[in-house]
Every structure is written in structure tokens, then in C-alpha cells.
Amino acid sequence: MSPGLSVFLENLRAAPRRAYEATFRSGPPTSDRTRSTFVFGNVFLHLHPVRTHRWSLRWSTTMGLGIITFAAFLITLVTGVLLMFYYKPYPDVAYDSIKDIHFVVPTGRFMRNIHRWAANVMVIAVLLHMARAFYTAAYRKPREFNWLIGMALLVVTLGLSFTGYLLPWDQLAYWAITIGANIAQSPREVTDALQITDRFDPGGLQKLLLLGSDQVGEEALIRFFLLHVMVLPLALVLLAAVHFWRIRKDGGLVRPANADERLGPAPLETYPVFTEAPHKTYQLAAIVKGKTAAVGRGPEGTVPSMPHLFYAEAGVAMLTVLVCLGLALFLDAPLKELANPGVPENPAKAPWYFLGLQELVAFSAFMGGIGIPGIVLLGLGLIPFLDREEAGTGEWFGGPGGLPLVLRSIVVGLGSAVLVDGIAIRYGWLREWFPKIPQLVVTLVNPGTVLTFIYAAYSIYLVKKYGSTRAGALGLFTCFLCGFALLTLVGSYFRGPNWSFYWSPADWPVH
């Protein structure tokens, strides 16, 4: 046999082994060192730190909410791609294609149900995730920027869900998006009152940008489809990558200063802390300003991410899959009649997470649609820059006041929301009391703004009482969360035809 041929055969024999080595270059993750290289040698895993603090792995630290959100996103991504094989983004045809997906595409109904439920799980989880980050004061230095990225992710998530809502092109979708587009047009309330709509019409422009036309039609459908399947998912992936990477750069998840002491020594069966001397030094550290997150802290509390963190992440992700599948198996995603622009749904309701806003829009379109959401987003964005305290970082409900303050705030938040919305429902509002009142007054004084004012006043009272911005923020955030929950509940379950109040849908008049 010629030498060339034997080398060839030798290479052929070795090919599988070499392919394996080329893929897993550091060998099996059995030692601390290979476990580390396993993580930072992989483009996806290296968004994680190679070592994770034991505090981060406690279930009570995050409740896995971030992973649930991202897992739900991955589920929608996979099922969404599958749905795209059959979905046809054109009016009427779209509806037929959804019907086909539902009835004849193999497992189409199941996939659509999973997609729908995962999307809802994602919206709920992202809200809870934000609440977790807030209540553990995770937004504080050095994590201010990541808090802002998180807010952007919240907005993109809602955008994804909202754009997906139109695609089935049924009555539910058509009128929900019509309502949504009218909310976007709400600045007209102010420009109309000032009589400058002819010259300056940001509301109309927003609606036009959203729909590409005066009303929901084929332009809107194509636009929503493109946003839903390409623009927003790409934006979300990019933002999420930054979000995850920042966690590592900011020294892992937030934890109390005394986390190591509170955890005590690691249990014996845990993969131990550093056993080998580091093999690498980071020359770049010389030009990095400030100290890295690990300087001055021992590696004692940390365990290798591979496998500790990854078991936790995989477990939570699998749980999310399980929940979505379980819901999808027993509850079909809604699909009403073919969209009919001539027959409005009554009541026409926006997607559930906007029903709190719709409840406010019923009183003042501008304040409900733009004013108050704007104030809320601005307030959320300012929190990390106003609260520069350190007490309570990494603790649930950490900071002056603590849990009792939060509980009191729940009472205040729910109580005042019930009171204000209740008055408006039972006795009407300014428009009913003074029919000739100028619109601008109603825009300024309506249940939404009154509620915002009460919450703000309560928050300022807390800041004074506790001498702490954090206390005020705890109160304000809790109040807004309660207000959001209550208004969403009222909008979802207690509003019937013509947006009138009913204790139960059974009392709705028949059209």
C-alpha cells in the first residue's frame, strides 16, 4: 500500500474523533478547567459567566422568570417558523390559512395553540421578571443600563404580541387592532381641543405609520406580519443578547453584600470552588477602567456554570415548555368569524395586556393611550438614576420599609384604583356632571390622571417619611402594579357592550 493511501485511510479512521475534538475543543467537561473552557469556548454559552454564584442558583432569587421569558420566546420562535410555512399574509386568505392550520395541517392546531400560549406566558413572565428585578433592587449601580435594556425588551415583547394579534384576520383580531390603532391616534384628543390638528397631527401620523392606511386593511396586515416575523424578533434577539451579556459584565445576578455568609459553606456534593491555579491572565484588564466585578472578592461562593447553572436553566426552560404544551393540549387559541369591517365587535377589546389602558382610554384617549404610559415608562427609566442607595440590594423587598411597606402600598394602590374607577363607573365623570366642560380639562382631570396623582402623592409622602428614595419607589411601583392589575381586570371581565360595566358577561344585553 502506498504511503499516501495509508495516510488517507488513517485520516479517514480518525475523522469522527477529530470532528468531535474540533467541536468540543477542550475535551469533556469533567474538570473545573474544562468546564470553564466549555462555557467560554462556545459562542452561545459564553454569554454566561463560567462560574456562577450559589446565591444566583437559589430558586427564590429569581424564580427563573428571566429564563421562563426567554424559553417562551424560543418556543414562539420555533412554533412561529412552523406556522409561517402555512400562513398566507393576505386578508381573507389569511383567515382560510389559519383554518387550514387548525384543521388539516398535521399538528397545526397544537402548534398554533402552543404559539399562542407561549406568547401569553412570555408577556406575563416579562412583567413578573421586571417586578422581580425591581423588588430585589437589581436595577442599582452597576446594572442601570441593563434595566433600560430590560424596559426595551418589555416594549418589544408587547409589540411582538400585539402585531401577532392581527394575523389570524378574524373579528377578534380586526377590532382589537382597530382599537389599538385608535389608541395610537389618541394625541388627536389634545390637538383637536387646541384646534391645530390640521397643521400638527402626531396622532394621525402614528396611526398611519402603524396601519399604512386609514383603517385596518391589507397594508396593515403586511406591515404587522413583517414586524411580527422579522423586525421585532431580530430586535428582541439583539437586545436579549446584550441583556444576558450585561449580566455577566455586571458581576452576575444581584445578591446581598453578605450573601456568602448567609449561604454558609457549600454542601459536600457540590462541585467545589476553584481547585486549580488560574492558567490565564487577562492583559486587557490593564486598560479597563475601574475594578472588575470579581476583584476583592474571593471565588468562594461560586460553582462552575457547567453544569450547575445549565441544569437550572434547562429545568426551568423544560418547565416552561411543559406549561405551554399542557395549556395548548386542552385550550384552543381563539379564532372568531372572518374579519368584517362592516360589523364591529361590541365590545371591541384590545389584547388583554392593553385592557388597563383601554379602561383609561374610555375616559381620556390621550391620557390613557399616551400620557400615562409615557409617564410610567419615564418613571421606570428614571428609577435607577434616582435611587442611588445601597441598603437592601439583592434582597426581596429590600430597602427602608421592606415587605410591610409593600403590603401597605398594595392596599393603597388597589384601594384608590377601586375608589377612582368605582366613582367613574357608578357616578360618571366630569363630562356627565358638566356637559359643557372643555375637553382639555377632562384630558387633565380624569380617573387615570387622578389615580396617577394619588400614587405620586403617596410616594412623595413615603420618601419624606422614610427619608429614602427607595421607599418612595417601592410604594410607587407597587401602586402602579396594583392599578395596572385592577384596571386590566375591569377591562377584561367587567366591561361589556358599549364599554358599559357589568358584573358578569351573563348580564350582557344581546345585540
Binding site: K99, F103, T107, Q171, H308, Y311, V321, L322, L325, E337
Partner: protein, 548 residues
């Protein structure tokens, strides 16, 4: 870490379990799969696959045949249950049109409740089986449907003249001679579709130049005409034609428009059969909560189903209600591309041909009889002033033809009578003439009594007339002649076309059988008016209140 590992294990196992359940649901437990597994074709077990009829032009993708396999195109000789049954023979090939075009329902669906449309949010459930021929109305518009009386006359003649001895009609009649001999006549159930020679009777009597069926005596011309009416209306949907004829005998079009023709007082019925049951108020409907159930109860007692409805109780028999429900369900008028329209629909919608026969009787039945009564006897409905008895002899003897004609044409503004000759969806000039002429035949062909006087002759004292009007007339005809229980006398159509004799004699003699009494006749409760006083009244009517 143990907790997390356990979580991963349990979640993964349960997920696997769910996936197995989903796979089983998808591949084993689907209803249509189970049905197909139970069927056998001539060559052995049926192969189990989704079957469908696709007609892109009609937006049809009907999976009905996945369960009703025997009706799938190309499937013959199936056995193994009622789903193996083939479609009954009909004029149309189901493979060309699909199923939902006629039957309604949701063709894309593959589950029974969804496919039959018995679910929320499906606006077009199946047409109930007992009303199946209502499905024809998706595309067809039967033209020149006669009134019920004409139809029944035709059927009576058909039976009386023994046509059934040789001919089949809707499953009855015809001779069957298995041993041969004799001859069976053609089935006439679809004679109106296939068309027939106008001189069929002449041909019928002779064959190859020789006298043929001598045993049948001569048929009178009236019977011949009645037979023609019957045969022209035989289009394979007898119940539907019956219902439509009934609709055109009850005066429904006096208030309701169908396909743009009719009155405006009631809802437009053009697409009544395509009404979304999800948008119907079933609160007051006992029994089945579907469109057919709603319609039936509504015909039984309109105001009990729709509170405040002005529609009168029609007092129909159950059979008539069934016919009307069938016709209402047939008003589907599906928006298919014109290339798929049958000739009758093209003729109706593009050439403006009438759906009803345009003889006076049918027109009167369609447009007038609900208010003026089937025999012109007048009607009284709760809450409304009485409708005039236009077949009243006293009226017909005095009324000039122009008064009847112009009243039909221009209506009585301010009153319930629409201007049938002028309004949208009203009558054409020839039809107005036919109706006006028919009014006289209703009263037994009463002509106007000869009137030597000119149209305008009253020259009394209008001031006296004013006083008399207030005393004797205003309580019924209104202080300003605007009409209350009695006719609106200040109406220009009336005043232009009524002669003085008409007014004078009506006041003097009254109109028997109505509340209008003869004021010139002796009475125990009030002094009777002298001829001079009546002339004063007529003069006042002419001059006093906007008279011509």
C-alpha cells in the same frame, strides 16, 4: 443542583407524555380517521387519508367528504355504515361545486361540530336537512314565481286532468310497466328547468301527423294556462317554489325588500337566510336556537320574538310556516363570482327580470295584500289605523280609474301607502296598471257608475263647510284633514283624482261595511245632512284645506 436536576427530569418526562397524547390525538383519535377505518371499498379496506373537494374560484375547500366518504368524487361502492352512502342524485355534480355552496357549514373543518357550523363564531351553519332545497338560493333566483292561488290552480288541473297517469311529478304518478307495453311519459319535476314547447298540447294530441292520445279529451284554455304556470315553476325544488309563492301571496313585499324590490317599512330580507345566528337574539325563542327555529317562532308570533315588532301575526298553519321558513332560509344570495351565476340569477340581477309573476293577482298578493287584505277587505292591526277596504263596492262604484291608478303610483304621502310607481324598488308602469285593474276585479269587476257631471261641480258655501267639517268629520279625518282613523282628506293625490261626485256620494251614502257612515241617510243619533250641506262640505274640502 439535585433540585434542578429533578425539575429537569420531571418536566421532560411530562412533556414527553404530552407529546405522546398530542400525537395520538392527531393520528388515532380524529373522528374522520375512525370513520374511514370502518369503511370498506370494493378492493378491501379504504385507505385512510384526508379527502376534500377544492374549487378555488368559489373559495371552497370542503373536507366534508373526509367523513361523508361515500360522497367523495370517485368513491363508489363503499360499504360499512351510513357514511358510505353516496350523494342522492341531484342536478349538480358535487365535485364541481363542493358541499357548502348548497348546504352551508364550514367546509374547511374536519370535526363534526365545526364542520356543521354548530359552534360559536361560525356565521353560516348548515341549512337544516328538512329545508335542504333552501340551499338552491345560494345561487339561484327563481323567476316569475306565481301566486299561491295560481300554483294551486295548476296543481289541481294537473291532478284533475289525470296527467299523473303517465307523468311523474315530484315522485308521484307515472306508469311502471315492467313487462313493457304502454309508455311512460317524461318526468315533469324539472320541466321548468329544461323548458318545454309552447305548443306542447297540440303536439301531445298528435304524433307523426296522426291523432295520438284521443282518449284524453280537449283541455279548456284556462286549464292549459294553469298547467303552464305549474310546469314553468317545476325546477326541482317544489317546497321552495311553494314557499316563495306563499311569500308572494301574503303581501310581504309591501314592507320588505328582497333583492331591491319591495317596501321600506320592514327589514331588507335579501340575505335573511345568511343571517349569522351569533347575532340573533334567541332570548324569547323556545326550542331550537337556530335560524330556522327563530324564523318559525317569528312567523308564529313576531312581536313575541322581536319586542316592539310592527309585523302583524299572520295566522299561518304549521305547513305554511314551514314553507315560509324554507323560502327565508333560501335567501342566501352568496357572493360568488359572476362566472358561476346561473342564468336565472343573471336574468334577475343584470336584466332586471322579476322574481314574481307580473299579473295583477300576483302583484296584488306580493305588494298589497298584507295591508288591504287578500280579498281587498281591508285590515286592522293593533296600534295602526285601519287599512282601507279597497274592494268595497261603494268605493269602486264611485272611484274614477285615475284615483286608483294614481294612488298606487304616487301613494298617499304622510300615510302608510307608499308611492309604488315612483319609489325605489317599486312597481313598473305596466305593473301599476295591472294592479290598479286587478283592484276592480277584487270587488267583482265593479266598474265606475256613469257620472254625467263634470269632475268639479260643487259650488256650496265653504264657510258652512268648515263648520260642518269640524262638527262631523274632524274626529275621524283629523282637524286639518291630515287623517286619523279615517282617510287623510287633505292629501293632494286624493283631491286631484277624486271627482266631486265621488266625495259627495261617499259623504251622502257612506261606505257600507266600514266606519264611514252615510251622513245623508236618516240616523237616530244625529241630524242627517242635506244635499246642500254636503255640497258645502265638498266645496270646503276643495278650497279650505289645501284643496285643488
Amino acid at each position: 443542583m439535585q433540585k434542578n436536576k429533578l425539575l429537569l427530569l420531571v418536566a421532560s418526562l411530562l412533556t414527553l407524555g404530552f407529546l405522546v397524547v398530542a400525537a395520538a390525538q392527531e393520528n388515532v383519535f380524529r373522528e374522520w380517521r375512525q370513520i374511514q377505518r370502518g369503511l370498506r371499498s370494493a378492493d378491501g379496506p379504504l385507505d385512510v387519508r384526508l379527502r376534500q373537494i377544492v374549487v378555488p374560484q368559489l373559495r371552497v375547500a370542503d373536507r366534508c367528504v373526509s367523513c361523508h366518504v361515500g360522497m367523495a368524487p370517485g368513491e363508489t361502492g363503499l360499504t360499512g355504515g351510513k357514511m358510505a352512502a353516496a350523494h342522492p342524485k341531484v342536478g349538480h355534480e358535487p365535485a364541481d361545486f363542493g358541499c357548502i355552496v348548497c348546504h352551508g357549514g364550514q367546509g374547511r373543518a374536519t370535526d363534526k361540530a365545526d364542520a356543521h357550523g354548530d359552534v360559536h363564531f361560525w356565521p353560516e351553519p348548515m341549512v337544516p336537512r328538512r329545508y335542504a332545497d333552501a340551499g338552491c338560493g345560494s345561487c339561484h333566483t327563481h323567476l316569475a314565481v306565481p301566486s299561491l292561488a295560481a300554483l294551486r290552480g295548476g296543481r289541481a288541473a294537473f291532478e284533475r286532468l289525470d296527467c299523473l297517469a303517465c307523468h311523474k311529478l315530484e315522485g308521484r304518478g307515472g306508469t311502471l310497466r315492467p313487462a313493457g307495453g304502454g309508455m311512460e311519459g317524461p318526468d315533469l319535476s324539472r320541466a321548468g328547468l329544461s323548458g318545454f314547447a309552447a305548443d306542447w298540447y297540440a303536439k301531445h294530441l298528435t304524433k307523426d301527423g296522426a291523432v295520438w292520445k284521443q282518449s284524453f279529451g280537449a283541455i279548456p284554455a284556462a286549464d292549459l294556462a294553469a298547467l303552464d304556470v305549474l310546469l314553468r315553476s317545476r325546477v326541482g325544488a317544489p317546497g321552495l317554489v311553494e314557499g316563495k309563492a306563499l311569500f308572494h301571496s301574503l303581501g310581504c313585499r309591501g314592507c320588505h325588500k328582497v333583492a331591491g324590490v319591495g317596501g321600506d317599512d320592514g327589514p331588507d330580507l335579501t340575505r335573511e337566510g345568511a343571517k349569522d345566528p351569533g347575532r340573533i337574539d334567541f332570548t324569547h325563542v323556545p326550542g331550537r336556537k337556530d335560524l330556522a327555529g327563530w324564523l318559525g317562532e317569528h312567523f308564529r308570533s313576531p312581536a313575541a320574538i322581536v319586542p316592539g315588532s310592527a309585523m302583524p301575526m299572520l295566522g299561518l298553519s304549521e305547513e305554511e310556516i314551514g314553507h315560509l321558513v324554507r323560502y327565508m332560509l333560501s335567501l342566501r344570495h352568496s357572493p360568488f363570482p359572476e362566472a358561476y351565476w346561473p342564468k336565472d340569477r343573471i336574468r334577475a340581477e343584470r336584466f332586471g327580470e322579476r322574481e314574481f309573476a307580473t299579473d295583477g293577482a300576483t302583484l296584488y298578493g306580493s305588494f298589497c295584500s298584507a295591508c288591504h287584505g287578500a280579498e281587498g277587505q281591508g285590515m286592522r292591526y293593533p296600534g295602526l289605523p285601519a287599512f282601507p277596504a279597497i274592494a268595497n263596492r261603494d268605493f269602486l262604484e264611485l272611484a274614477p280609474d285615475a284615483l286608483i291608478l294614481e294612488t298606487v303610483r304616487k301613494g298617499r304621502s304622510g300615510r302608510r301607502m307608499p308611492a309604488w310607481g315612483l319609489k325605489d324598488g317599486g312597481l313598473r308602469p305596466a305593473e301599476v296598471l295591472a294592479v290598479a285593474a286587478y283592484v276592480r276585479t277584487l270587488g267583482g269587476n265593479v266598474a265606475q257608475a256613469p257620472d254625467p257631471k263634470p269632475a268639479r261641480w260643487a259650488q256650496g258655501n265653504a264657510a258652512t263647510g268648515t263648520r260642518l267639517y269640524a262638527a262631523y268629520c274632524a274626529s275621524c279625518h283629523g282637524p286639518n284633514g291630515e287623517g286619523k282613523e279615517g282617510t287623510a282628506l287633505a292629501n293632494p293625490v286624493l283631491l286631484e283624482n277624486a271627482t266631486d261626485t265621488y266625495l259627495f256620494e261617499t259623504i251622502r251614502r257612506g261606505r257600507r261595511g266600514t266606519t264611514m257612515e252615510g251622513f245623508g241617510l236618516p240616523s237616530t243619533v244625529r241630524p242627517s245632512l242635506s244635499d246642500q250641506e254636503i255640497e258645502d262640505l265638498v266645496t270646503f274640502l276643495r278650497k279650505g284645506k289645501g284643496g285643488a
